[in-house]
Structure formats: C-alpha cells, structure tokens
C-alpha cells in the first residue's frame, strides 16, 4: 500500500498538472482569439463566425508548440526532485519496479514514501492556471473596449441614416383619403428594387416610374393630380364606386404636386430627383507629364480607379501617338481595352501596363492618352489627357542646335556629349579589354565628368568642388581688416568689423533664377553620373549622362531669343495736309435707346415683402393685395418647381396666408425668407442725395456768403 501511495501521489500530480495546463492554454487561446475576432468584426467588419475558425486554429498552434498531454511520470518526478530537496533527488525510485531496486535504493525509497504524503502540493500548476485566467480576463476587457469604441463611432452614422429615412415634412393628407401608397420603380440602370411608401413626398431616381394608388373613403367624381401647378392629370378610377384611384408617371425633373379631390386641393408634396452622375475617373499613376529617359524601361504602369453611383458599363484607354517632327508629324490612334469585364460594378481599380515599344513608339515619339468610361445609363465621361514622351537620344547628339546662331554658352556642351560617347564605347569594349583597363577608363571618365561639373559650377558661382551650389567657408580675407589703420568715427569700418560681408556668389552671375535652378539640376545629374563612373558602373551612369545632356540642351534653347525680320513700307506723311479735310458731308451719328425692364419680378417681390410686413402689424389683405399675392405665388411656384425642398413650405404658407384670415407669424416669416432668397443680392445703385426744402432764405444766405467771399 505504502509503495503505491508514492506512485499515486506522483500520478495525481501529473494529472493535475496536465489538466491545469490545458485549462490555462485554452483560456489563453480563448483570450487571443477573442481579441483578434473582435478587432476583425468591429473594425474590419468581418462576420462573427470568424471566431469559430480563429479559436481552433490558435488552440491548435498552442497545443502543437507545447504538447502538454505528453508529460510523463518521469517528467513529474524530475520536477518534484527539483522542487523538494527533502526527496533527495530520488523521486524516480518510486516509479521504478520495486524488484529491480537495490537494497540501498529500497531503503531510500521507503524513506521518501514516508515523506511524500506530508509534502505540500506544488504551486506551479495553480500559478499557470491563474496566469491563463488573468490573460483571459484582460482579453475580455480589451474586446469589450474595442466593441464599445466601434459602437460609439458607428452611432452617429446610424443616426444619420435613420434621419434621412424619416420624412422631413409632416404631411397633411386630405380627410377623404383613407389609404394611399406610392410605388417607385427605379429605372433598370439603378438595379434597385421597386419600393413602396406611404408618403406623398417622393424621392426618386431620374427616370423612375412612380405609381400612386389612392383609396378614398367616399366616392369622388374626379380625382386629379396637379404637377408644378400647371400640369393637370386625371386619375383613373379602378372601381365603379370611385373609391380606388391610380396614376403613374415617369419623373425626370424635381418639382411638386398636389391632389385635387372634386375641387378640394390638398397640400403640396415635393418630388425630389436623385440624378445619375457620370463615372468619376481618377488616375493615380502615371503623372500627367512623364518623360522616359534612355536606359529606363519603355513601359508605363497605369493605375486607375473608377467610381459610379449605379454601375460601370465600359471603360477603355484612348491613346494617340505622335511621331515625327515638324511637318512630318503623324498621328496614330489606338483604343486599348482593360481586358476585364465590366458587369455593372460600382467601383473598379484597374491597372494596366502599357508597353510603348509594342505600340510602335520610337525615341522622340509622344503618347497622349485619356480614359473614357460609360455608366450603365449611357452617360460617358473622360479623364484629363496624360502625356508620355520618350527622349530622342539622336536628337540630343545632333549638332543642329549648336552649329547655327549665337552660342551663348561655350563649348562645354560638347564635352557632356563626348562623355556619353566615351561611356558607350567603354561599355561596348568591356568584354574585350582587361578589367583593370576598364576600371581605369571608367575612372578617367569620372574625372572628366567631375571637371565638367566644376566648370558648370562656375556658372553658378560655385567655388567649392564638393558641394552643388554651396557656399565657401573660408573667410581668411576678413582677417586682413585688422591690420588696416582704423579711422576714428568711420562708421563703415566699424560696421565692417561686425558684419559678415561678401558678395553673394550666386547673384554675381548673369542668369535668371529659373535658369540657375536648371543648371543646378544639371549639376546633380552630373554628380550622379560621376558617382557611377567612379564606381565602375558605366552602364548605370548612362541615363544620368543623358539626362544631364537633355537638360543642358533645354538650357541652351531657353537662353535664345529669335525675332523674325519683317519689312513694312509706309507712305510718306505730308504734315501740311493733316487735319484739313472737309467734314461738312459727315453726318453726326445719333443713337437713341430706352431700356425696357422686361422683368418686373424683383419689383413685385419687393412690394410683396412690404405687404407682408404690413400684414404682420395686423392689417388684413384687401382686394388689391390679392393681385400682388397672386403674382408672388406665380413666381414662387416657378422657384419651387426647381427647388422644391427650399420653396415648397413657403409656397404652402403663402397660400395659407392669402386665403386664411388668421395671422400666423411663422408663416409670414417663412414666406419672407423665401422671397428674400428669390431676390438675388442687389448691387448698389447711384442715388441722389436729398436736402431740405430750398427756401428763399437759404438762397439769400448763400448769395450773401458768396458776395462777402469775393
């Protein structure tokens, strides 16, 4: 019994160990997968089912890393030996077969077996369990936090969505109407399902078909619908008792309408149109102007994103290549497709590599392209035109620009060209000459390039060979001043002592700032070329050399002005004959015009404002006022047909005012605001100033003043 006790103790410990460890691992895995899935669900908007995948995966990974179930009794006994010095490193004796033990071992074993039951349980597995649970708790807290953050963020969004769904205006529905519905069938291109609403205010896509279905509680002889106050359409009665009516119309324009039930008119309801916008095209790559230098791959990567509100039908690249020079220039047009199907998706991110060589472009040619896209409603839109040009090296190497005309900038240009020629020759010879010679020649070329750069630097006023456009930092010459005898009271000498004065090197040259900037760019390219040459990479240096040459060419062209010679011959003037012509036959032109203000709208609206103001003080409208109100209503109907959401409320308020006797301030305010919106801002007009009545007394006073003044 005793013997088994020791073994049992170790086995129990092992079981406990494994169980606790397992629980802890599960807890940790749970925590990690919880945090991960919460993040992906709330922030990246994945499905919550993701958790079912993540958790087993993470658990699997943990178990794979630490296969806890493989823990053997030996492992436990080793641990116990370490943990409890009382066992004197002999816990494993308990696990061995008793018969195989020596006497000494048996003695030891007996000794331990007496000790073991009195030993306290090791704390290690419990610690592991606690650690796991703590991690789980932290994970829970983090995931709750994340879900709270994203809830807070998404709240305003939801709120807006809801707000837009709720009708902005509370509608007044005539009492005779017991039930009604408006069915809006959006046009096919929107791919939207038809929707039914119990609301007269209609928001529909352009070209949507709208069906009204109205049920009245009593029979009505005639039910009409009036659009924009001028288009009257009768509704069809569906049954004999005239209680069910229907009407359908395709709406293309914003506006408003009202119902006419046997002459009784309802409120005004607005129709708002959601227009279909053309595809927006955004080219993210390349830049609007791209130049491909020698050595660069003659390819361009085109990245475009297309967006439309309903769907994109088609998109292609329209490319035009211009080749040749002067009069011999020729254009070829090509349509490049994106090689993807446009199945009316709303968003597209397309990329295409255009191989200029396969288009047949040679150096010196230019490519103009734009992207044209069509949406499913048949509206097309196009992007800006982008330019890609391949630099013509032959052009650069030609002497055409230099042989004729004045050569403002001296012969250094040829040197850059010479360096290019030498570099190309060196590359060609590379295989046939020994490496050392290649390196020496490359280095020599680098030295040449450096010399050239320094000489150009002189144009910029550079004195130091290490920097581009840098300032010099030795100021020895200032020391000389000390030796000179100082004159007492000479302000300039005193000033010189404290001021740091010398010419600003850059300003000492004759170039304009723009030219200087370009010269600096040339120097940078030369720097780069030199670097490559000195590190024995002539192949890499070549593009920089070409670029430097191209920039230099541009510079040279810039510094030239050309004025064509023209010849003009004028008749000689006879001064004595000037201004002596006979003018008696010349009639004096007289123009007489009178400006007729055709539009009396503003004048009417202004008068209406004053009328409303007098209504505010409690005065009732009289007969004559009705004419003015009618006119105002007419203008407001026009305004409301274009902007129903702005003017419709004011229009119904105006109608209420002109018919009703009750004075409602808020209605007047609304109408006044609308009228002021309708009257555009007025520019100032010259106005004569007025003075008091001119009595004879003032006149006399003025005359007397004048007399005394003289």
């Amino acid at each position: 019994m005793l013997k088994a006790e020791g073994q049992n103790w170790i086995r129990n410990l092992r079981k406990k160990w494994i169980n606790f460890y397992l629980i802890s691992i599960i807890a940790i895995a749970l925590a990690i997968s919880l945090v991960l899935s919460v993040m992906s669900v709330y922030l990246l908007h994945f499905s919550p089912w993701l958790f079912a995948v993540v958790f087993p995966v993470i658990l699997g990974i943990f178990l794979f890393i630490k296969p806890i179930w493989k823990t053997t009794d030996q492992d436990v006994s080793r641990f116990v030996n370490n943990q409890y010095p009382e066992l004197e490193e002999s816990a494993d004796l308990l696990l061995q077969n008793q018969d195989e033990l020596t006497i000494l071992q048996q003695l030891q074993r007996n000794k331990i077996e007496n000790i073991i039951p009195n030993l306290s349980q090791p704390k290690e597995p419990v610690k592991k369990l606690y650690l796991g649970l703590i991690i789980l708790l932290v994970g829970l807290l983090i995931s709750i936090g994340i879900s709270q953050i994203s809830l807070h963020k998404s709240e305003p969004l939801n709120f807006h969505e809801k707000a837009s769904q709720i009708p902005a205006i509370k509608e007044n529905i005539p009492a005779e109407i017991s039930d009604f519905s408006a069915t809006i069938i959006p046009p096919a291109y929107t791919q939207k399902a038809e929707r039914k609403q119990k609301q007269f205010t209609i928001t529909a896509e352009t070209g949507a078909k709208t069906n009204w279905k109205i049920e009245t509680n009593i029979g009505i002889k005639k039910l009409k619908i009036i659009f924009n106050d001028n288009e009257i359409a009768p509704l069809k009665a569906l049954n004999a008792s005239h209680t069910q009516w229907t009407y359908s119309k395709t709406v293309n324009k914003s506006g408003f309408y009202q119902l006419d039930l046997d002459g009784k008119k309802s409120d005004l309801y607005q129709i708002e149109i959601i227009p279909d916008l053309p595809v927006t095209i955004k080219i993210t790559q390349p830049k609007q102007h791209t130049t491909i230098d020698i050595g660069q791959p003659q390819k361009i990567n085109l990245n475009v994103s297309l967006t439309d509100d309903y769907g994109i039908n088609d998109a292609y690249i329209s490319a035009t290549m211009a080749s040749g020079k002067g009069e011999g220039v020729s254009f070829t047009e090509k349509k490049l497709s994106f090689n993807t199907g446009f199945d009316n998706k709303r968003n597209f991110t397309l990329s295409k590599q255009i191989d200029l060589k396969s288009l047949g472009m040679k150096p010196g040619d230019e490519l103009y392209f734009f992207i044209k896209a069509m949406d499913n409603h048949g509206q097309s839109s196009r992007s800006d035109v982008y330019f890609v040009s391949i630099v013509d090296t032959a052009e650069l190497m030609s002497l055409a620009g230099m042989t004729n005309g004045v050569n403002l900038v001296p012969e250094y240009f040829r040197s850059e060209r010479q360096i290019i020629i030498d570099t190309e020759k060196l590359i060609k010879d590379q295989s046939s000459i020994p490496v050392q010679t290649f390196k020496t020649r490359s280095n020599d070329l680098g030295i040449d390039q450096k010399l050239l750069r320094l000489r150009y630097g002189q144009f910029l006023g550079e004195e130091n060979e290490n920097e581009i456009g840098g300032d010099h930092d030795d100021h020895d010459e200032h020391a000389e001043h000390k030796n000179e005898g100082e004159k007492f009271g000479d302000v300039s000498t005193i000033m010189d002592k404290y001021a740091h004065k010398h010419d600003i090197a850059e300003d000492a040259t004759f170039f304009e700032p723009e030219m200087k900037a370009q010269l600096k760019a040339v120097l940078t390219e030369m720097w780069n070329a030199e670097l490559r040459l000195r590190t024995y990479k002539p192949q890499e240096a070549l593009p920089y050399e070409y670029k430097a040459l191209r920039l230099l060419k541009d510079l040279q062209q810039k510094s030239r002005a050309y004025v064509a010679k023209t010849t003009v011959k004028t008749a000689a003037l006879k001064p004595e004959k000037r201004l002596t012509g006979e003018l008696d036959k010349i009639t004096q032109p007289v123009q007489k015009m009178s400006f007729e203000q055709k539009e009396k709208r503003t004048a009417f609206l202004k008068a209406a404002l004053a009328l409303l103001e007098s209504r505010k003080t409690g005065k009732k409208f009289i007969e004559q006022d009705q004419f003015l109100l009618g006119k105002t209503e007419k203008y407001m109907i026009g305004a409301a047909a274009d902007h129903p959401s702005t003017y419709l409320n004011a229009l119904s308020s105006l109608r209420k005012l002109s018919t009703g006797n009750k004075l409602i301030m808020s209605d007047i305010d609304l109408v006044e605001q609308a009228i002021q919106k309708m009257i555009n801002t007025e520019a100032a007009k010259p106005q004569t100033q007025s003075t008091g009545p001119a009595s004879a007394l003032y006149q006399n006073y003025f005359n007397n003043l004048n007399k005394t003044g003289k």
Partner: protein, 595 residues
C-alpha cells in the same frame, strides 16, 4: 352708521355674552384670568378691524417735497418719513404717496415749495423746463438695463444699406444676446457681457420697397428682455440724369454707359469723332442739342462726366457755363490721366506721380466708411494731393488719394485719376464696379431739394403722449395743411423762420400712421408705451443730471417747521394679542379645566 361702529357694537355684545358665560361657569378656577383673556381677545379683534392711528410731529422743511419718478426703488424710499408725491406711472407697491398728475400745476398751486427731492430716473426735458429756479436734489436710481441709445435712418433709398447703431447697457450679472431681426429672419447678433456697456452696429440691405419693421431683441438665455421696433421705409427715387462728354471713346466710357443704361439712368453721351463732329447717344432720355454746351442744357443734368482733354478742347464759353452749372448745384467729375493740369477746373487738386509697383494690383478703399474693394489689376501712377478743404473719396491701400472732391458753390467737383475701373466688370466683380460708381456718382450729383421735410419731436413718438410735428416748406406764404389720422391740425408758424410750421398732436394708435402735409403723405411710426423704455429712462437720467449741473447750487436756508404726519400702529400687534388670549382660553378649557 359706519361699518366700524357696527363692528365695535357687535364685538361689545359678543364680549358681554362671553363674560356672562365665563362667570356662570361651574368651574370657577382662574376666573380673573379668563375674564382678562376675553377682554384682551375681543379688544384686539376690534382693533384689527379699526386700526389705531396717531399723529407724530416731524421736523420738515415746509417748502420741500419728495418727488418719486419712474424707476424709484420703493424699498429705499419707504424709509423716508416725509410726505411723498409720485407720478401716476410710478409703481408704488406699498409706499404711500400722493399722486401728482401734473407737476407744473402742483407747483403753481403751492408757490411756497422751493426744493424738490427727486427719486428715480428723473424728469423729461419738457418737465424740467418748468423747474427752473427750484432747488433740486436728485437721487438717481441705478442705470437702466437695455438699449440706452440707438439710431438709424428712417428713410432709405433702394439698394442703400440699413445701419442700426447704438449702445447696450447690461447691468445684470449675466450675458445678454442682442439680436437684430427683420423680414422674417435674424440678420445679425452680438453678445454683451455681464455688467458692461457695448456699442453695436448692425448692417443689412432691406429688400422690400415700402415700410417694414425690423426688431432689436435682447435675449438672456431663453428669456426675452426687450423687443424694440426699428421701423424703416424704403422708397424708389427718380434716377439722376447723367451727361458724359468724351474726347475719344474708350472702354471706361463704354462700360459706364452700358451700366447706367441697364440701370435705367437717363444718360446723354457725346464723343468727339472729328473736329466739331460728335457721336451722340441718348439713352433713356429725349434727344437734345448738345453740339454746344450751355447753361440751359446743363440745367437738365445732375452730373457731368468729362475727361480733361475734352474739357481743355471745348470753347472757353462752354467751360465757363460748366463752371456756372457747378456753382448752381450740378456735379462735375473730371477724369485725368496726366500729372499736368490742362484746365483751371481740373487743376483744383495737385497731382503727383508715384513709382509704379510692377505686377501689383491696386487695392482701393472708400475713405468714408473704409469699404475695401477687390484688387484692380492696373498700375496706377498718378495720384492726387488733398488739401484741408477737400474731401478725398477713394484712396489706395497706402492712403494715396485717387478720387478727390471739393465744394464749388452749390455743386461739387470730383477729380478721378482712375482710368480703367471696367476691369472689375471684366473679372466678374460686378458689385465692386457698382459700389464704386454709386459712391462716386451719388457724391457728385446735384442734390435734390425736397418739397417739404418733416421732423418729429421726440425721437420716439409714443401713443397718448405729446408729439411735435415740425414741417419745413419751400414757400412760407401759405398755411400748410397738416393732417394725421384724418384729423386736421392747426399749425403754428415759427417766429424767426417763416417757412417752418409746427403742430402738437397726441397719437391715438400705435404703429404706422400717415401724416399728410399738403397732400403729400409721410408715414410716421408711433411707438407703444413700452418700446425703447431703457433708452427713454437713460435720456431722462442724463437730462436731469445735466439740468442740475446747469442749475448751479444756490442752497436756500433750511427752515424746519413741525409738520404733522399720520402714522398707523401695525396690525400685527393686535393679531398677536388676539392669538395669545384666544390660545389661553382654549388651553384653559381643554386641558387645565379637565384635570
């Protein structure tokens, strides 16, 4: 028999009955106390109904009175033990004072009164006039809270802005929001901090033609403290007549011509083609002979725009008739381009040349109201010097004058060195162009004489209160017909100015009323009694202070005599006595007697 005697009689009967009951009670304990309590209770009850008055002697100056005016703090006045007089408008609450309906009448009927102690906001200017020669001590109330001054043009011409300016005095301890509202919408607002005075200036373009009432609303959080009406009248005007004489047609003239034409201004335009040959444009005006400029043809126009070359080219005769026309009120705008003056009229202002800044646009400012124009893309080299007698109208950003003006006789001469304002139109800044030329033309043009002008005193005529209508007329020989609310008034001629007539009126209705002066209708706004109260109170306060300051302090000898003042014993004493006595009786019968 009076009520109080009946009450006393009934109470005495009650007392007798009570005493009888007390004496006949079987339990005769504390009989004396009970009888005493009964007597006290009934006695106090009687005195509750019939209060005791007694007369005290107060040393008071017999020729001195206390006058309570609007805004008196009744609590502070209540302590004063003297006879008080108050206006009917004063809210007295629990202070006793004799109401005075007419101060001057009262003073006349009590000629011995020499000294007045005035409490509250003081008296109006009209009332103060009657107090000359009296000795006055003023105990002013705290400054009123609200708009204490305000001003705005009551009549506007179309497209002129309405500017309302004033001061708000916030004596409260919380922030006040002052809102300017009109034509159904809030125009502007300003916040006034606690315990501070702040001046405000609101500007808007009234869009109506006719009458409208704007409002100044003082808000403290959600409470409306005051709502003051700002009545405004906008009317159209006959446009000014413009004559342009050009030595050569240029864009400046062409654009100006078109702009005036489209705004329906009568305009005659003459430009020289050749020697003594002209091209004429008569726009919105009947054609007249303009081959030669003379005084009679100039009389038809309100303003003449001419360039200096043309002014120099016309005959001296024409030039002198232009000068005469200006002296008689016509406006003259001369466009100059050179630094050298060619004519005396054009040479009115010295010119100087300033180095041109290449590529820098010209930023112009109206000197009067510092209105800034959008930059004009031209390089201006010639500027004008300005003297003390000139009034610069437009200057550039650094203050160099571009358009200058001075008075010549009745009229005005303007000189402008600006030659291409049409650039504003080309760059789409129509409002700048319109503002510039409106400013220039309005400044120069002949002033129109009204047939009559009407002045109303006070600034805010109030319903049921006296207002004075003063009418200025052209002719003084005929009595004008003044009619208001269809009541014919009898005007009185001014002694010194025979063309000025005035009449008094007490308006019957608030709101717009029509004042007819010789058939011409002049709308007048009559305010409610509660409108602009703070302003009126502040005016009274200031007026009274000023009056006292001007009065000088000649202190009369204070001669004190006994004056009899009636005082009343507080009813609370009797009530307490009644309560105690009745309480004792109750306690005695319920608790002491039962034991």
């Amino acid at each position: 028999m009076e009520f109080k005697y009946i009450a006393i009689l009934v109470s005495l009967v009650l007392l007798a009955f009570l005493l009888y009951k007390e004496v006949t009670r079987t339990n005769r304990a504390r009989l004396v106390w009970r009888i005493l309590a009964n007597i006290v209770a009934v006695g106090c009850f009687i005195l509750l109904i019939v209060p005791i008055r007694y007369e005290t002697h107060v040393k008071q100056n017999p020729d001195e009175i206390i006058l309570l005016t609007d805004g008196t703090n009744t609590d502070s006045v209540a302590k004063l033990k003297r006879k008080k007089y108050a206006f009917p408008s004063v809210n007295l609450k629990n202070t006793k004072a004799t109401t005075l309906s007419d101060l001057s009448y009262f003073l006349k009927s009590n000629p011995n009164i020499r000294k007045l102690n005035i409490y509250g906001y003081g008296l109006s200017a009209a009332e103060l006039k009657n107090l000359k020669g009296y000795q006055i001590t003023f105990h002013p109330s705290a400054n009123p809270g609200g708009i204490i001054s305000a001003n705005w043009p009551a009549k506007l011409k179309t497209s002129e802005p309405l500017q309302v300016q004033g001061t708000y005095q916030n004596s409260g301890s919380e922030m006040v929001k002052l809102l300017f509202k009109g034509l159904g919408k809030a125009v502007d607002s300003i916040a006034i901090g606690a315990k501070s005075n702040k001046s405000f200036s609101f500007k808007t373009n009234p869009k109506q033609t006719g009458k409208a009432i704007y409002e100044l609303i003082a808000l403290q959080k959600n409470d409306t403290l005051a709502k003051e009406p700002v009545p405004v009248q906008v009317s159209d005007q006959t446009p000014m007549k413009v004559l342009i004489l050009a030595s050569f047609p240029d864009f400046e003239y062409k654009f100006l011509k078109n702009w005036l034409y489209e705004n329906q201004y009568p305009l005659a335009f003459r430009s020289q083609i050749s020697k003594n040959k002209f091209a004429f444009d008569f726009l919105n005006i009947d054609s007249i002979n303009l081959n030669r400029i003379n005084t009679s043809s100039l009389k038809k126009f309100d303003i003449l725009i001419i360039d200096e070359e043309e002014l120099a080219a016309i005959s001296p005769n024409e030039r002198s008739s232009i000068a005469l026309g200006v002296n008689n009120g016509m406006g003259l705008l001369i466009r100059v381009t050179n630094t050298k003056a060619l004519t005396t009229l054009g040479g009115k202002f010295g010119r100087f040349e300033s180095p041109v800044l290449k590529g820098k646009p010209l930023n112009l400012i109206v000197t009067e109201d510092h209105h800034k124009f959008n930059p004009l893309p031209l390089e201006q080299a010639v500027f004008l010097k300005s003297n003390q007698t000139d009034q610069p109208i437009v200057a550039d950003a650094s203050g160099k004058t571009v358009v200058n003006s001075s008075i010549s006789g009745y009229g005005k001469v303007l000189v402008s060195t600006l030659s291409a304002t049409y650039n504003w139109l080309l760059s789409g800044q129509k409002t700048d162009y319109a503002t510039y030329w409106s400013k220039i033309l309005a400044n120069a043009a002949r002033k129109r004489n009204d047939i009559q002008s009407v002045n109303i005193i006070p600034q805010f005529p109030v319903i049921h209160q006296k207002m004075r209508i003063i009418a200025d007329l052209v002719a003084s020989d005929r009595i004008p017909q003044l009619k208001i609310d269809s009541i014919l008034l009898s005007p009185r001629q001014n002694m010194e100015l025979p063309f000025q007539w005035d009449a008094l009126y007490w308006p019957q209705k608030s709101g717009w009323t029509n004042l007819e002066v010789n058939q011409a209708i002049e709308p007048v706004y009559i305010y409610k009694k509660t409108d602009w109260e703070a302003l009126k109170n502040q005016q009274k306060l200031d007026g009274t202070h000023q009056f006292i300051k001007n009065l000088g302090t000649t202190k009369a000898k204070n001669k004190l005599t006994d004056t009899i003042v009636e005082e009343e014993v507080s009813l609370w004493w009797f009530f307490a006595g009644f309560l105690l006595a009745a309480g004792f009786l109750w306690y005695e019968s319920r608790i002491l007697a039962v034991k």
